[in-house]
Assembly symmetry: C2
Homo-oligomer: 170 residues x 2
Amino acid sequence: MVERCTSPIVLLCLFSFSALTLAFSPCPLTGLPLVRNISEIPQDNYGRAGLSHMTVAGSLLHGMKEVEVWLQTFSPGTHTPIHRHSCEEVFIVLKGSGTLYLASDSHGRYPGKPQEHFIFPNSTFHIPVNDAHQLWNTNEHEDLQVLVIISRPPVKVYVLLFMFHTLLTS
Amino acid sequence: MVERCTSPIVLLCLFSFSALTLAFSPCPLTGLPLVRNISEIPQDNYGRAGLSHMTVAGSLLHGMKEVEVWLQTFSPGTHTPIHRHSCEEVFIVLKGSGTLYLASDSHGRYPGKPQEHFIFPNSTFHIPVNDAHQLWNTNEHEDLQVLVIISRPPVKVYVLLFMFHTLLTS
């Protein structure tokens, strides 16, 4: 945001400002205020007990076309399905802890025994495009709250029908 | 992340899992651990006094191709240049407060007298693609810390050579 362009394109850009901005006109506003209080954003659980989902910036609500930002809270013991998607995904753990299961082989028909990664407050990680993964709140005493950033909204999630834990215990 | 795909494409996807994942093979890893402690990420100020910039997930460091996430802190009175970029940008204010100046007319040769938006802790906003904008920490007593999400990394920033405040006081 604060990097400085030192190339001649800066001056060129100023003189061609009008043409450039017409070429990249902003998305239409949706009537919502530009600055929004996150604590006032409606929550949903998509029918999954123990989940709270907020769309901080989204394609349908805010006209985002390239990125989407969610705030999700998982109660102790709850988790996502094993899933994958053909978009980039970045997580920031705001509070709580848990386990990320990441397919050790996303190129086969089955993801195989997953890698287990401990996630903790103020940690960040990203999921490689199309790698099967699952997030668990394995902390019995605290909610797991994560900020989630995805590309290419709206996300299309492919849910895998088997469970990592059966692989872990087999 | 936890939305469930209910269409037949789920089963189709499972049977064609191998082909699909080969078509979207993940970015190469950069040797950094998958889960990183944000408090251990190096900071830079890009030569701007009062700025602290961290790349939480980036194109050069982590192989991101579609989104990039920064953590930036502005000391009291500091600000970004007036700038614009042809990517989406989402802000989340983690602490502090300030003012967002957003060009009232990004389609002209000059951005014109900007809209002023008060930003506060736990607020979020996004910048329309190619709209000229500037972020100021107008709080004399506290740092302004924001999480910044951009699309299409690495960002190319066009810095405008005039200042909003001259428009505000003219």
